[in-house]
């Protein structure tokens, strides 16, 4: 498996632990997830039954320190995301949301009491989290959010709507971002809080093995100790997105690798005009381009990971890698679909499932366009969207 898509021997650059993480997650995905994903995808459900095993392996918040987390390198987190998304973008999203979007802000911005209460429970999978930033009218422009939090005595009253929230209906705890008179603040809102409701979004043609929801907050009263004390301003939720985007940089490679493998196997076995279609020049062009883009993406991801491990990765470096790797993964998926011909549209093969998922991945956690313009701003010093 690994050798055929590790053309530049990037695996040799991994530490022993990182390689063990990769092989462990790869096997888990192959043995426990791949046999069930197609049915869940078709039915539009997330396989909740694998959550205890994900927790036992220690994937939730694996790159955080303390509170039961494994404290691994960013590269180890990256290779885990790659292998998870080789399964399905919905699986990687589940782990991303839990670790990078929920545990990370509690770990970085939460009070000691909040950390003690939630981090071990989330690490063990007993508590599932979701992250409420995006709104129906504010996607790329989260700073314009309409959700408000106002003081009432020592309590906070939250009002607003969040949309496209992964795990919303599964979550025991929502990290909700709202505008206050002092600026944007983060709140931990528990399931069952009066005035808080999650509604599942149906009729999706992408990310079907993942739960996506709308969060409704209507005069939702939470006590003062639900506020994340360290989160001041929009940079707090954006720092969470940086964490999650880093996982996507690697995850998109996983989806691309799955598509490439599927297309390569198919091309070698499928005979037309009395020869395997892998022998035709146009198929070889596709396969060569796919492997080249995967290899370039691996090098981007690896060096970004090492920079992040050294505390040197910048937001715009993460933007470049997210932009490139998702765009190219989508192209790889489309090429793979064309190699598989009519079979390419079937759930019997992973290709169209990944392709449809990647349309979501292209947009969420910063659209292709916004990451491009973030890079444009970094190059020119001129912002094109602010």
């Amino acid at each position: 498996m690994a050798a055929a898509t590790d053309f530049y021997c990037v695996q040799d650059l991994l530490t022993d632990e990182e390689r063990l993480v990769q092989s462990t997650v790869a096997r888990f995905v192959e043995e426990r997830f791949l046999p069930i994903v197609a049915d869940h995808y078709e039915r539009g459900t997330f396989p909740l039954e694998i959550v205890p095993e994900l927790a036992r392996i220690g994937l939730f918040g694996m790159h955080l320190q303390g509170y039961g987390a494994a404290g691994m390198s960013n590269v180890a987190y990256g290779v885990a995301c790659q292998e998870l998304e080789r399964g399905d973008s919905g699986l990687r999203s589940f782990v991303s949301v839990q670790g990078s979007l929920c545990m990370f802000p509690i770990h970085r911005y939460g009070s000691e009491a909040q950390k003690q209460r939630w981090l071990p429970a989330m690490q063990s999978g007993e508590a599932i989290g979701c992250f409420g930033l995006t709104e129906p009218d504010f996607g790329s422009n989260p700073g314009g959010m309409a959700t408000r939090a106002r003081r009432d005595g020592s309590d906070w009253i939250l009002d607003g709507t969040k949309r496209w929230i992964t795990n919303g209906n599964l979550a025991h705890i929502a990290v909700v971002w709202a505008r206050t008179e002092q600026g944007i603040r983060g709140f931990l809102v528990e399931r069952g809080t009066r005035g808080f409701e999650a509604r599942e979004i149906h009729h999706k043609l992408s990310m079907r093995a993942s739960v996506t929801s709308e969060l409704l907050l209507e005069s939702c009263r939470v006590p003062a100790d639900c506020e994340l004390p360290g989160a001041q301003g929009l940079k707090a939720p954006l720092s969470c997105l940086n964490e999650a985007r880093f996982g996507i940089v690697w995850g998109a490679l996983g989806a691309a690798i799955a598509c490439y493998q599927s297309a390569l196997d198919y091309a070698k076995a499928r005979v037309q005009f009395d020869r395997p279609i892998a022998g035709f020049q146009l198929t070889q062009l596709k396969l060569a381009n796919m492997l080249t883009e995967i290899t370039k993406g691996q090098l981007l991801a690896f060096q970004l990971g090492r920079l992040k491990d050294q505390g040197k990765a910048t937001a715009v470096q993460i933007s470049m890698a997210k932009m490139n790797n998702v765009r190219e993964a989508l192209e790889v998926a489309r090429l793979a679909r064309s190699i598989l011909g009519a079979n390419g549209i079937s759930l019997e093969y992973p290709v169209m499932r990944h392709m449809a998922n990647l349309e979501t991945v292209l947009t969420y956690e910063g659209t292709q366009e916004v990451h491009t313009l973030a890079l444009g701003e970094a190059i020119t010093g001129i912002s094109a969207f602010k």
Partner: protein, 260 residues
């Protein structure tokens, strides 16, 4: 009473990838392929961990193999083993089963243990000879083909897999046990276990260190692979058309294979 367990493991070319034989050495090609902890040995590690965890003991992982074999030991340590012993020596290249058993026996001597667990056979060589030889060399009883293992009051008890069902077999400790793939569902290493494994001791031993210079490996071969033949192509399957008797025919077929 704590029960300490030794588990013997082997690193092999990934059996899920196509295997290649080197016609010159008549051995599996180990270069340029993924090497993994033998899946059969994962069951042995899991069984060893369950015994030790239940009794408050520790698991020592022993392997003979080239430098890279330490990865297989690390994997077993990340599953929960306490320490490793790695016998590595250029003279051990192309060892036969008896040499391997001699090396393992010498490596575990001086180790305090109550039980040795092995997979029933390696997935690559599949001789299945090493555990029996190991038991003989150590003068210990052998309980083979365990699909269930329990250890208590100074004895080990197993369900030995047979064609018809199982036999219940017991032996006093210390003993050697081989386990089948049906005995358990091996755990995945946890990430925390992976982090901890790098701080666990893996003793590196040479043939000299275990007192076997010239007595194992290429200089002491007792077996030789003299010829290789490709396996016969599998015959086409039998298609049963159901004319009301289909179920009966399938049952007869399975009974013929002794699987029911």
């Amino acid at each position: 009473m704590a029960i300490n367990v030794v588990v013997c493991v082997k690193q092999i070319p990934d059996p899920s990838a196509p295997a290649r034989l080197d016609p010159a050495s008549k051995r599996l090609v180990r270069e340029g392929v993924d090497l993994v902890l033998d899946p059969g040995d994962e069951h042995a590690v899991e069984a060893a961990l369950q015994v030790a965890e239940g009794a408050g003991g520790e698991v020592t992982v022993v392997s003979m193999g080239p430098a890279r074999a330490v990865d297989a030991i690390r994997r077993a340590l990340s599953m929960g083993g306490a320490r490793g012993i790695h016998v590595q020596d250029p003279a051990l290249q192309n060892s036969d089963a008896l040499s391997t058993a001699r090396v393992l026996a010498a490596a575990v001597k001086g180790q305090p243990f109550d039980l040795i667990v092995c997979g029933q056979e390696s997935t690559d060589g599949s001789t299945g000879a090493v555990p029996g030889q190991l038991a003989e060399l150590l003068g210990l009883p052998l309980l083979s083909f365990a699909r269930k293992l329990s250890v208590e009051e100074g004895k080990a008890s197993i369900h030995r897999q047979t064609d018809e069902g199982y036999d219940v077999v017991e032996a006093p400790l210390p003993a050697v046990v081989t386990v089948t793939g049906g005995i358990n569902d091996p755990r995945y290493p946890s990430l925390r276990g992976i982090m901890q494994s790098k701080n666990k001791e893996v003793r590196q031993l040479t043939l000299e260190a275990i007192g076997l210079s010239g007595k194992a490996g290429e200089k002491a071969l007792t077996q030789e692979v003299v010829d290789l033949q490709p396996a016969q192509a599998r015959k086409a399957g039998r298609v049963i058309e159901d004319k009301g008797e289909g179920a009966r025919e399938i049952v007869d077929f399975l009974a013929e294979l002794k699987v029911i």
